[in-house]
């Protein structure tokens, strides 16, 4: 008589798999990546390739040391997502060792030391970013001037020239690096002294040439917004955290726009479409591992990040603050979780996760 195996229910499964989720996240970065590459040249692509190679090597190495099946864990693509997000966030044409160091720190220390995928309390890409920002402030704040704002006769370096700049190769002779580096919109706005906002916008080509806010950067942010919208549509994450973060930034910048006075904190559009706002809102704070779990929790988590981003941008030392804000709220996520357990079916009200029952 044949005996059949004993298997636990459910016996069916939706086709969705973790690596497919990760793959969709990677695909969704494409519009933003295109905008970055169009405006700032090959640098971001080189960053991503370097970062991906480093992340894969680090992940495989740690998995081998932990005596886990390497291929199985690499196939979830989570290391690749970390690498791509960090590659997008780093300045184009950053030196190779900067990328390597950041990614290695993100994968080995911020992710694997805590137990690997699913167990890291902090967003690995942001940990890597902050470590670099604090350790190498000059390299981390050297950005490129958008292609179309370059002075007459200066162009962005080509692929080979870019590789020469990034990798430990002999530097290109026919290239003046200072010619194509420049401040970011947020950076330059931070150095506005005493001008009315409108005046400042008119006098700065970064703003005066732009359609909405911050030349080049507006398209980068719109690209990430489009990718994020697609992920939302794909139900990869819920709207709660991004919406709360963007709403918080809009609200605060609306209040502190101050009619465009000389002490204005900048227009809401500038804050929404500059720096890493959209990358953060749709690709960083939606990392489920390090965010709050319930929908209410994610609203609080997202709003907290939005508030911190704005506060640090306006009153802090750094022109942008997504990485700091995310890490600070990563700290708070477990606490938020304790107080935002949803009301379960059949219960009159929600209860705290810390309630003890005898």
């Amino acid at each position: 008589m044949t005996l059949f195996p004993r298997v636990t229910s459910p016996h069916g499964h939706a086709p969705q798999r973790t690596d497919q989720v990760m793959l969709r996240v990677l695909l969704a970065t494409l519009p933003g990546l295109v905008a970055l590459t169009w405006n700032f040249g090959w640098g971001t692509l080189i960053n991503i390739v370097l970062a991906s190679a480093t992340a894969t090597a680090c992940e495989a190495g740690v998995m081998a040391l932990r005596k886990r099946p390497v291929r199985f864990y690499l196939s979830d693509l989570s290391a690749l997502v970390t690498a791509v997000l960090l590659g997008l966030a780093l300045p184009p044409l950053a030196p190779w060792w900067l990328v390597l160091m950041g990614v290695a720190f993100a994968i080995v220390i911020a992710k694997q030391f805590y137990g690997g995928l699913g167990y890291n309390p902090f967003n690995p890409a942001m940990v890597g970013y902050v470590v670099l920002l604090i350790s190498f402030p000059i390299e981390m704040t050297t950005w490129i001037t958008p292609r179309e704002l370059l002075p007459e006769g200066v162009s962005l370096p080509g692929l080979w020239q870019s590789l020469q700049l990034v990798l430990p190769l002999p530097a290109p002779t026919d290239l003046a690096v200072d010619a194509f580096t420049g401040a970011t919109p947020l950076d330059s706005f931070k150095h506005n002294t005493g001008l009315l906002t409108e005046q400042f916008y008119q006098q700065t080509p970064l703003f005066s040439e732009a359609e909405l806010a911050g030349f080049g950067w507006e398209w980068v942010n719109l690209g990430f917004l489009a990718g994020g919208g697609w992920l939302l549509y794909q139900r990869i994450f819920t709207w709660h955290a991004p919406a709360a973060m963007l709403a918080a930034i809009t609200l605060l910048s609306g209040i502190f726009y101050d009619g465009g006075s000389s002490t204005s904190a900048g227009s809401p559009l500038m804050h929404l479409l500059s720096g890493a706002t959209m990358l953060g809102a749709f690709f960083i704070i939606t990392d489920p591992v390090t965010s709050a779990t319930s929908n209410l929790g994610r609203l609080i988590y997202g709003a907290g990040i939005g508030i911190l981003v704005f506060v640090i941008r306006v009153w802090g030392n750094y022109p942008d603050a997504v990485a700091f804000a995310v890490l600070l709220m990563n700290f708070a996520a477990p606490l938020i979780d304790n107080y935002t357990v949803p009301r379960t079916y059949g219960h009159a009200r929600a209860k705290r996760a810390t309630v003890k029952k005898d």
Binding site: F4, G12, T18, G118, G346
Partner: protein, 790 residues
């Protein structure tokens, strides 16, 4: 149009229902045997009422419900009971359980049965009894006895009939609604009558069953003249809308409070299959002997619904549908979401078997290895109970039971939606089941531990109380002895020196609570003694006064003992039937033996009580009791010498008893204990004898404080008196007095020897030597006297 509420979460797995609805409900040839598990429902197993070899008819009761939450079992065809034995039953653990196995005779002959056409004029309780005896349990999957659900304590205003059937693949209810809508509607009318015609009667159907909806609608239209309105409601298809709690939420917007039953909301919910079964039981008088079961999956050539006799082995069902075992990676009873796998196709179809799913490998490939949880929250989006499955998983993994309960683990209905959507393929439901089981076990252990702790504390307290009582008694006795001694001293010698002792005693008595009025020493001491005597008498009276009460208590005890014996025997029988381990069986056997001994003991006591009782009085008891009172009185009035002699006799007695026990016993441990006890008794005896010999032989006891001092002082006085007397005596008188004393000592020694021999005491030899010595001394003295005479 009724308002429909949405439930949170839910999923849309492929329905796979089309393949099994092409053909009408079919019938199968009789199987070569029927396996009828005694427990096809939630609750206590039914009790068999047939024995192997009995002929049974179709519809005959083979097992009766036992307890309130239980359901009977009936033979689903005529035949012979082959055996009542362990057989694999449908259960996730693939366990075996007691089943009645019937070999069909092929005649399929019904037992005589009759329905009730005019149920409307019958008492609902009577109908409930019929439902209960017809063995009807929830056919939707849970198998809760229908009669219990239909007899709630709360008033019911909403009756919901569940025709949702949200699980993929299953079409049993769908086909039943399509083909037998009239029976369902008639069943609903019966349920409504039993529940006192609730204001709302709703049939809930998912919108993927339009044929069933139409059929029911037609049946309702032709039936509308009878009774209250029945509302047919369809709503969007979504898994798990068919869960009782979810359906209630969809149709009423209400949520069943956690841990409560729908009846709390005035709602009762029944499956369409159950409703139809109730119709057949009441109107046709047919018990539940068959049900509609879907046989489906790509490993079966034919996908179809059958009206299957309960007890039909799954193998028989599959064999009639072109089952290809080799292409089937797992065999499922129920649907793909909540069904469980069957290891052995010999298990029977039971009351809750709505589907046998035999998929192919392509249909249900083996689950891939689980990946780490990334807390993506898709599970929380899918959860119909608004739980946080990712957090539950996290805490289940770390066995953090407090957190699991804080996250309402026990509100999980195990629908499997979370595991279905999990991109990491984590078997979430299995984690929850395991954690639930663990928590339940821990709770039971805690209750047990609490009980034994309470028992232990109570026991300790009782021992302490008993010890305190004993100490108080000892104290009272000591005081009484002292005062008695004091009194004796006053009475006998009148020596004023004793006043000191007596005042001391009286002062002790005065400080004690018993002595209410501290008076002069003697009277106070007497009062204490009288108190004690009175108390003893009162106890005796009390014991004598209530033979009826004692008799009643004994009879109660016997009843309880008998009950205990019965239940332990039952347990033993059950245990033997269930093939329990030898160790547990031994334990049960020991329990039975224990219960039997206790019963015999109790009966013996009653018989003893009956014996004097039959003489219409209680002479033995009363004499004993009054005797004890007298003894107490006597003891207290005794002189120290008498007390000592009494004590020695008592010790001798104890020694004799112990020796006899020793002779009978073989157990080493007890033997040693008895021996050491014996030694102690002997030591005590020796001490007592020493004390006695130290006391003056004939004269009244000397009134002194301690016995040793008493004896010494008395001996000195005696010696002095003797010396004085002797000095005055002539030699002949001296000799004569010496002889008298020797003779008296010899008499006493002989008497003691006789007692010792009678009691077989071991100081016989010593006594014998003493007697011999004394005899020679007496002879010597006589010779001397005779010589002096001459």
């Amino acid at each position: 149009m009724r308002k429909i509420w949405d439930i949170p979460g839910g999923i849309h797995p492929p329905e796979n229902k089309k393949q099994s609805v092409d053909q009408s409900i079919g019938a199968l040839p009789l199987p070569d045997r029927l396996v009828l598990p005694l427990n096809q429902h939630i609750g206590a197993p039914a009790r068999p009422v047939v024995k192997p070899g009995d002929r049974v008819l179709k519809g005959q009761v083979v097992a009766e419900p036992h307890g309130i939450v239980s359901a009977g079992v009936h033979a689903s065809t005529s035949g012979v009971v082959e055996s009542i034995s362990l057989h694999p039953v449908p259960h996730p653990s693939a366990m075996s359980s007691n089943c009645i196995i019937v070999r069909p005779d092929g005649e399929d002959r019904w037992i005589e049965h009759q329905g009730i056409a005019d149920y409307g004029s019958r008492d609902p309780q009577q109908l409930l009894d019929i439902i209960r005896l017809s063995g009807i349990a929830g056919l939707g999957g849970a198998g809760f006895p229908a009669s219990v659900k239909l007899g709630p304590r709360q008033p019911i205003d909403t009756l919901i009939i569940n025709g949702t059937e949200c699980e993929p693949y299953i079409t049993a209810d769908d086909m039943l609604m399509r083909e037998r809508p009239g029976e369902i509607v008639a069943g609903i009318r019966i349920l409504a009558h039993i529940l006192g015609n609730p204001a709302n009667i709703l049939i809930g159907i998912e919108d993927n069953k339009p044929e069933a909806y139409d059929a029911l609608e037609a049946a309702l239209a032709s039936n509308s003249s009878e009774g209250s309105d029945i509302e047919l409601v369809d709503f969007p298809t979504k898994y798990p809308s068919g869960g009782e709690k979810q359906l209630i939420q969809i149709l009423t917007g209400k949520e069943v409070p956690s841990g409560k039953l729908p009846a709390e909301l005035g709602i009762v919910c029944h499956n369409v299959g159950t409703t139809q079964a109730i119709y057949r039981a009441i109107v046709l008088g047919e018990p539940l002997i068959s049900r509609i079961t879907t046989v489906t999956g790509q490993s079966c050539a034919i996908n179809r619904n059958y009206d299957v006799l309960l007890g039909t082995p799954v193998r028989h069902l599959l064999a009639n549908n072109g089952f290809d075992a080799d292409s089937c990676p797992r065999l499922i009873m129920g649907g793909p979401m909540m069904g469980f796998t069957l290891e052995n196709p010999e298990v029977p179809v039971i009351k809750t078997t709505n589907c046998i799913l035999a998929p192919s490998r392509e249909e249900m490939p083996p689950a891939p290895l689980p990946q780490p949880c990334i807390r993506c929250g898709m599970c929380a989006e899918a959860c119909p109970a608004s739980l946080l499955p990712q957090q539950l998983f996290w805490y289940a993994q770390s066995e953090n039971f407090d957190r699991l309960e804080a996250h309402n683990l026990f509100d999980c209905i195990e629908c499997g939606a979370c595991a279905y959507v999990c991109p990491s393929n984590i078997p979430l439901v299995q984690y929850y089941r395991a954690a639930k089981g663990e928590i339940r076990t821990l709770k039971q252990e805690k209750i047990k531990a609490d009980h034994s702790r309470q028992r232990f504390e109570f026991h300790k307290e009782r021992l302490e109380r008993a010890e305190a009582e004993k100490a108080a008694k000892r104290e009272a006795r000591r005081r009484a002895t002292e005062s008695a001694r004091a009194r004796g001293a006053e009475d006998d010698s009148g020596i004023t020196a004793s006043v000191a002792t007596s005042t001391e005693a009286s002062s002790t008595a005065a400080t004690s609570p018993e002595a209410k009025a501290p008076e002069a020493g003697t009277s106070a001491a007497k009062a204490t003694v009288e108190d004690i005597i009175m108390a003893a008498k009162a106890r005796a009276e009390a014991r004598k006064a209530s033979p009826e009460q004692r008799r009643a208590a004994l009879e109660r005890g016997i009843e309880a003992a008998r009950h205990r014996l019965d239940s332990t025997r039952q347990k033993l029988a059950d245990g033997e039937a269930d093939n329990l381990g030898e160790a547990s069986l031994d334990k049960l056997r020991a329990a039975v033996e224990d219960a039997r001994v206790k019963l015999a003991d109790a009966e013996g006591k009653l018989a003893k009580l009956d014996l004097p009782d039959s003489n219409d009085s209680d002479p033995a008891d009363s004499s004993r009791d009054t005797g004890s009172a007298e003894r107490v009185a006597k003891k207290l009035g005794d002189s120290p010498r008498q007390q000592l002699q009494g004590k020695i006799a008592a010790i001798n007695n104890r020694i004799a008893v112990t020796e006899q026990k020793l002779a009978e016993l073989t157990d080493a441990a007890t033997l040693d204990a008895l021996r050491s006890g014996l030694d102690k008794q002997r030591q005590k005896l020796a001490e007592a004898q020493q004390q006695l010999s130290a006391l003056p032989v004939d004269t009244a006891p000397a009134p002194v404080e301690s016995p040793v001092q008493d004896a010494a002082a008395a001996a000195i006085t005696r010696a002095r008196e003797k010396a004085a007397r002797l000095a005055q005596m002539s030699p002949e008188e001296k000799l004569r007095s010496n002889l008298d004393s020797l003779v008296s000592r010899l008499d006493k020694a002989r008497a003691r020897l006789a007692t010792a021999i009678a009691e077989n005491a071991d100081h016989v030899e010593t006594l014998r030597t003493t007697v011999v010595n004394l005899e020679s001394k007496v002879r010597e003295a006589e010779t001397k006297l005779a010589q002096g005479d001459h």
